[in-house]
Amino acid sequence: MRPARAAAVPVLAVGGLLAGCASDSTAITSSPLCSEGPHGAGNGVILMAQSVPTATWVPCIGSALPQGWNFHHLDARNGVSRFWLDSDRDGQQAVEVRLEKSCDTAGATQVPSDREGMTRLERVDRISPAYSGTRYYLFDGGCMTVVFSLDGDNAGEALAVSSQVVGAIARSDLAAQVHEESGGRLSLDPDPGEGG
């Protein structure tokens, strides 16, 4: 074996192993909490608000996740933010929470909303052998979508978790928080009167 060729093996192995560990480098692994003690919402929630500047509400994690459930990661980027919840029974990324400016609600049925100021729609794609469905919350300037892709046969827990754990915070509250934290120097959003 030529030394150079022999050297190529560990190069690829070590490099690749590390690369595999470090994929998706902009993923945020800390939960976007609606309230982080006295400081208000976490920066992940503010980042979600920045990703959809028109959204008047921003989803967040409102309470502790029940046993068997874990936060997977948050992906916030221009135009859309998503985070996922893992379940030890319903599988990895069993619940996806998405914030967008608008969403396609074709096939969904409006049901009474459990959130003030939001219109709720439901669409069930499949109930057997595992539940698959989508819940929409429409509000001014945005849409919050909760997608269920469950491995287990009992959808009740996942649906309850999404109602109890996934919260929403008003953009105006986030703006007030930014203003306060910056000592009154900054606002979350640009002045509507300015071109910038």
Binding site: A8, V11, L12, A13, A19, T26, Q50, L188
Partner: protein, 566 residues
């Protein structure tokens, strides 16, 4: 100077010529604190960038501790708002295009292109550093993003693509690191690289302006990203693939050889005078094609002889040679088992010390080797020079006239090595020189003290095969019978076949179209069963399995990396 022991042969002794009288001056001990002849160092710019990186980290800590992040946010926002004042539809289109270099697609293309080029050029060292830099930068950047959790700019409309937190700017960090890595792995040092640095500056400036105009990052995000992106690859390439050891060139040549011009050449001259008292007048590569494990040199030195200057021979060993030796031995262990009964060296100092020791041992035992002159330290633990007598006017045995005296000298050298418990392990035409009717054995790097009997037997067979290249098997066999029994010769040829012969010897036998091995076997009154070469041990099994797993993982990961660089 002490008289050299004579070479002993079956027909008597052969007086060995004295090495030329070298002019010696007083040697000088390097006082504590004085740098070695060739200090290992980062260039000034490397230190500056590392210091700047340290300053960035300190600034992060200071901001976090003092809670002054809002001050930076405010200052950054004012800068971005000033840029936003310049916005127009046309300028925005220009900015979106100008920022294209920091997009995932562009970074991916940069990665794949470098990956492919470095593999095609077999520039493994640079590829290794390239991959390492990419991973370190990505890990460092994403860790800082997670720790600092800085949102995107406030109070200004964000335009275009962005993802995740903003400090440091990951696109700028990765792009900068990839561009600098490309520069240091593909562009030769000198004028081209200097120009390349300015090109990178220009590309980064355009990208940074685009991102500021579009308010994708804060100014301080970009500054921190650029500093990290320059400092990490700069330090990595200068430490792990320094240009004087791993030069980026596009002409063919063996990469194991070091450049002995410039500061290294000056260091060698200075070190020879200080450490051996030799006054060097020239340092030139010598017979590079015959050596892959070191850089052989012919060094002109002042002489006390009437005819003026003379030469010494030197082998320049560097840490890279030790690593190559390690891989070479691993490869041989995998292919042949514990064929060589050997363990790799773990430092270049040990390697040189060992070769010097063996040379002294052979010289003291009256074996015809070049006279050892000492070891010279060029860079501590990284580069050493092994200095010996230069065998002037010699020819390789494959090109020289061979008489019975030369045959006897070769055979008696093997007999003497057996007596003192030594095996040369690399008996081949390139390592046997003939000068004025005298045989000289060179290159003792592979020699082993107290080798296995099998290894000693191989030395005899290889010596007989080499001697028969320019004569014939019958003649060599008859001379050998004067020093070795039929049983010893039979054992030698039972131990030697195929891969136990050095490649050069195998090639020359093949070129001659003579099956010398079979001819020697035919001359023997009886044959011994071939000695088994492939030896399996738990170590070899584990190493083989580990290598196969590593290769499989490497393949899988290489495929995934081609799709997802970071």
């Amino acid at each position: 100077m002490a008289t050299l022991p004579s070479s002993v042969t079956a027909t008597g002794t052969v007086a060995r010529p004295q090495p030329p009288a070298l002019r010696r001056v007083r040697r000088r001990r390097r006082p504590s604190g004085e740098p070695p002849p060739l200090p290992r160092h980062l260039n000034a710019s490397g230190k500056w960038w590392l210091a700047a990186s340290g300053a960035v980290v300190l600034a992060w800590i200071a901001v976090a501790v003092t809670g002054s992040v809002s001050l930076f946010d405010a200052a950054d926002t004012r800068v971005l708002q000033a840029f936003a004042q310049l916005r127009s539809p046309a300028l925005t289109r220009v900015a979106l295009v100008a920022g294209g270099l920091a997009t995932p697609v562009a970074v991916y293309l940069l990665w794949v292109a470098n990956f492919a080029i470095l593999i095609v050029l077999r520039r493994w060292r640079h590829l290794f550093v390239w991959v390492g830099v990419g991973l370190v930068i990505e890990a460092l950047g994403s860790t800082m993003l997670t720790v600092l959790q800085r949102p995107r700019p406030y109070e200004v409309e964000l335009i275009g693509r962005w993802a995740g937190y903003s400090m440091p700017s990951l696109p700028i960090t990765v792009l900068t690191a990839f561009l600098v890595s490309t520069l240091y792995s593909l562009v030769p040092a000198g004028r081209h690289r200097a120009t390349g640095k300015w090109v990178i500056c220009g590309l980064l400036a355009v990208t940074a302006l685009s991102r500021l105009y579009l308010a994708q990052d804060h100014p301080t995000d970009i500054l921190a990203g650029a500093i990290l992106g320059v400092a990490v690859p700069l330090a990595a390439f200068r430490w792990l693939a320094p240009n004087d050891v791993f030069p980026v060139t596009y002409h063919r040549g063996r990469t194991a050889h070091l450049d002995v011009t410039g500061i290294r050449g000056e260091a060698i001259v200075r070190a020879l005078q200080d450490q051996l008292g030799l006054l060097a007048t020239s340092v030139q590569p010598f017979n590079l094609s015959g050596s892959g494990g070191s850089t052989p040199l012919r060094i002109g030195v002042k002489s006390d002889a009437a005819d003026g200057d003379t030469y010494v021979f030197a082998k320049l060993y560097a840490a890279t040679h030790v690593r190559s030796d390690r891989w070479y031995k691993l490869g041989r262990t995998l292919l042949y088992g514990r064929l060589e009964d050997e363990q790799p060296f773990h430092s270049v100092r040990r390697l040189v010390q060992y070769e010097d020791y063996v040379l002294h041992l052979m010289n003291d035992a009256g074996l015809p080797v070049s006279h050892p002159l000492g070891i010279v330290e060029i860079t501590p633990e990284r580069e050493y020079l092994l200095v010996t007598e230069f065998i002037a006017g010699s020819r390789e045995i494959g090109e020289a006239e061979i008489d019975d005296s030369i045959i006897d000298q070769g055979l008696s050298a093997v007999r003497r090595m057996w007596e003192i418990g030594l095996a040369h392990r690399d008996i081949k035409p390139a390592n046997l020189l003939v000068r004025d009717g005298q045989l000289v054995i060179i290159d003792t790097a592979f020699a082993e003290v107290r080798p296995s009997p099998w290894r000693q037997a191989v030395d005899l067979a290889n010596m007989m095969l080499v001697l028969a290249l320019r004569t014939d098997a019958e003649r060599v066999y008859q001379r050998a019978r004067r020093q070795f029994s039929e049983e010893e010769i039979a054992e030698a040829f039972a131990a030697t076949r195929g891969l136990t012969m050095p490649t050069q010897l195998r090639r020359m036998i093949r070129q001659q179209g003579r099956d010398l091995h079979a001819q020697f076997l035919a001359l023997l009154p009886y044959r011994l069963p071939p000695v088994r070469i492939q030896l399996w041990s738990w170590r070899r099994v584990v190493l083989t399995i580990a290598t196969l797993i590593g290769a499989f993982l490497g393949l899988m990961i290489a495929i995934s990396m081609l799709g997802q660089p970071l």
